[in-house]
């Protein structure tokens, strides 16, 4: 299924590197002239994808087509593709001019041969003889001058690379790539080493440059804001897979799953359940919504902070009728305030232009249109607001589960006081650390009766999946565990659940550095 105007097409591309699958069977078509951003956290395979397009790595499986031609195994120097490298990779012993001229000096172009009178020289088949020739010094000079003008560096052509600032080096790297007039320009986190102000400037300049040159840009970054600002199309990657492809608007407004929503922009994400047609329950309240999902299905709900409407109310009302909470944090952000509102045991981040006070009781309204419901890919139970308690256990819906917290840092250990000691000797206090806990569906054991496991609940649904049952257990704290099991249970059975410590996978929210003990 080849798209019209598709310049580059990845077809079932995988890359196994040192026994690890870095890129896992991805397919992607990129339209000519587009600004495409591949977005994802480090280690998601985005740079490897770029390197395969550039030709530095050969895919373990799959094909890469350029204008319909298979280039999977063509070496980089034969591809009409140029790269702007992460740390520029400029040639330090050449000055600015010679760096930019490097590609042109190597380039050979076909020149039709003519004799002294200007008549074409023909070979014995009557076709004009064509020789491959280097560009003339004059052509090279003109092209270099033009490229330097585009990046605004014509004054600095005689300077040594080491005397340039980061931003200037960045421009040289871009000039060096675009001077070859590539069909595709690859940019590997090119703005990562610049300060914030430079980065913003360069973002706009790159976008402008893209418009002027009219060639395809493929940009790799982990910065969602950069992606939203510059791209025509964003490709969100995770763990070697493509999670979603779409325009910035699409990805922001209609994220396909909780991962994408979490990665793009600020968002409140909840595990919810469809209670009736076009009704979804989260934050302990049933909201109207516009997405039609089967009743009793577990879903993820995304609410953007700017879409929450707060109204001050006097005194607590019954939770059944309205969704209400208490403001616990307030940050002035210039254009708006950012509030953290505690709703029962959950929290919601809200952006509001009205000045409110901490401690205010507020009613929470969300327009049905602004509640975005996503299908949950039920391969694991994901608990987005788990946290670590004093005894280094993970609290899922306030219930403590024994867990191995050393998985949060490779090669770390626990000392006798319960601090996490990293391989480099740094010490972390994980008490109250916010984490995401993941438990496989088949790693949860259901035990008959209350108080026989780590957590009590009631079975709310049983679905027969052909060779096993998928059972949903709702705990007293309104958290839901989905369990794959061979055994049959009945709805409304009171049960306990138990999870082995090694089956709980933890991911820290944010940077672990904030839990470091000085």
């Amino acid at each position: 299924m080849e798209k019209e105007n598709c310049i580059i097409s990845l077809q079932g591309v995988s890359k196994i590197f040192d026994g690890q699958t870095v890129v896992d069977n991805i397919s992607l078509d990129i339209t000519k002239g587009e600004f495409v951003t591949i977005l994802g956290p480090s280690g998601c395979g985005k740079t490897m994808t770029l390197r395969m397009i550039a030709g530095f790595e050969i895919p373990s499986e799959g094909k890469i087509l350029l204008n319909g031609e298979d280039i999977t195994k063509i070496p980089p120097y034969k591809r009409p593709i140029n790269t702007v490298f992460q740390r520029y990779a400029l040639f330090p012993y050449l000055d600015v001019y010679d760096n930019v001229a490097f590609g042109l000096k190597l380039k050979k172009i076909p020149v039709p041969q003519v004799d002294k009178k200007g008549n074409p020289i023909l070979d014995k088949n009557g076709e004009q003889v064509i020789k491959m020739k280097h560009l003339s010094p004059k052509d090279i000079d003109q092209k270099v001058a033009r490229a330097l003008r585009i990046v605004d560096l014509e004054e600095l052509e005689d300077r040594d690379i080491s005397t340039l600032s980061g931003g200037q080096q960045q421009r040289v790297a871009i000039a060096r790539a675009i001077v070859n007039e590539p069909e595709i320009l690859l940019l590997d986190e090119p703005l990562g080493a610049l300060d914030l102000k430079m980065r913003k400037e360069m973002q706009l300049e790159l976008k402008d440059m893209h418009k002027k040159l009219g060639i395809t840009f493929i940009y790799v970054t982990h910065d969602q804001e950069e992606a939203l600002t510059m791209s025509d199309t964003i490709v969100v990657m995770k763990g070697g897979n493509i999670e979603q492809v779409g325009s910035p608007m699409d990805i922001y407004n209609e994220p396909r799953n909780a991962y994408v929503a979490n990665f793009i922009g600020e968002s409140n994400i909840y595990g919810g359940t469809m209670t009736a047609k076009l009704k979804v329950r989260f934050l302990n309240h049933v909201f109207d919504c516009v997405d039609d999902f089967p009743v009793n299905e577990k879903v993820d709900v995304v609410v953007r902070p700017e879409d929450v409407i707060l109204t001050k109310i006097e005194g607590k009302k019954d939770q059944k009728d309205i969704c209400q909470g208490v403001i616990t944090e307030k940050i002035f952000k210039g254009v708006h305030f950012e509030y953290l509102v505690e709703v029962g045991k959950s929290e919601i981040t809200v952006q509001d232009t009205r000045n409110r006070e901490i401690g205010d009781i507020v009613k929470i309204d969300i327009e049905p249109d602004n509640i975005h419901i996503m299908k949950v890919d039920l391969t694991v139970n994901t608990f987005l607001d788990a946290w670590i308690d004093k005894e280094n256990r993970v609290r899922i819906s306030e219930q403590p589960f024994d867990v191995d917290v050393t998985q949060l840092l490779p090669n770390s250990t626990l000392d006798e006081e319960g601090y996490l000691i990293a391989a480099n000797g740094k010490k972390y206090d994980l008490n109250d650390a916010d984490v995401i806990a993941e438990v496989g569906l088949s790693n949860i054991e259901i035990i008959d009766g209350y108080d026989n496991g780590q957590c009590n609940g009631v079975i709310v649904s049983i679905i027969y999946k052909g060779d096993h049952y998928q059972i949903m257990v709702r705990t007293d704290e309104e958290e839901e565990f989905v369990v794959d099991t061979m055994y049959s249970w009945n709805e409304n059975d009171l049960v306990s659940i138990s999870i082995k410590p090694e089956d709980i996978k933890l991911t820290i929210k944010g940077d672990i550095a904030k839990y470091e003990v000085q």
Binding site: T83, F85, A89
Partner: protein, 282 residues
Amino acid sequence: MVKVKKVLAQTYIWLVLLLMYLPVLVLIVFSFTTAKQVGQWSGFSFGLYKNLLTSREIWVAVGNTFIIAFTSAFVSVVLGSIGALGSFYSKKKWQSLYDNVTQIPIVNAEIVMALSLCVMFTFIGTYVFHNEIASYWTLLIGHVVLSIPFVYISVKPKLQQMDPSVYEAALDLGATPMQALRKVIIPEIMPGVLSGFLLAITLSLDDFVITQFTRGAGLLSGNSQIETISTYVQSHIAKRPVPPELRALTTIIFLIVVVAVIIITIRNIHKSKQAKVRKGRD
């Protein structure tokens, strides 16, 4: 107080310089007198320089020394640089092994290397060639083995300082792997290669132990044992006194080095002032 400090610092530097250059100065002064015993002054004369010009023995030794120095330095620079490149592009765990193995000969006593080479050459000569193989070639191998580790350790850091993606950048801009090596990697490691070359020359020039154990007949010495400056001096020291012409010879060598350093310095100053020329521009 500050002034005193400055004076002290100055004095210290001059004292160190004096210690370094005083012996050379004494040597230069005594190269202008013909007295056999060092320290005796029998009047100013160019006699030693005259004798030096006519002493065939000494010129043969000088010639041999330089031929060996340059050929062995060239061979070890080529082999050592290729070795550093190969090690740099191999897997991490192998790389540290290579680094350590090449380091051993540097700290090892030279006599061990000399003896083992001598034994090996005798062994190969006896059992493979059924003949004496000690010659210019065995001497060359000896000197190359001596200086390769030094070339390796002066090239390797240059590779490690290099941004590893410059090679890929060159490929990306249209260079074939060979062109990338020639136009990007080699210029980048050139300072290391040059200092490796100079080190190799210096090591070979004043080497005695390995030379003594690996030399055979050949070069300018014709059918007799190859004589270098160091073996020549050694053989004469044994009989005493040291030939006075050597004072003139070392003075000349010292002056050549001084002139070379001055020329290089002047050239560098001149180069940085030169305006850049862009081909293809009016």
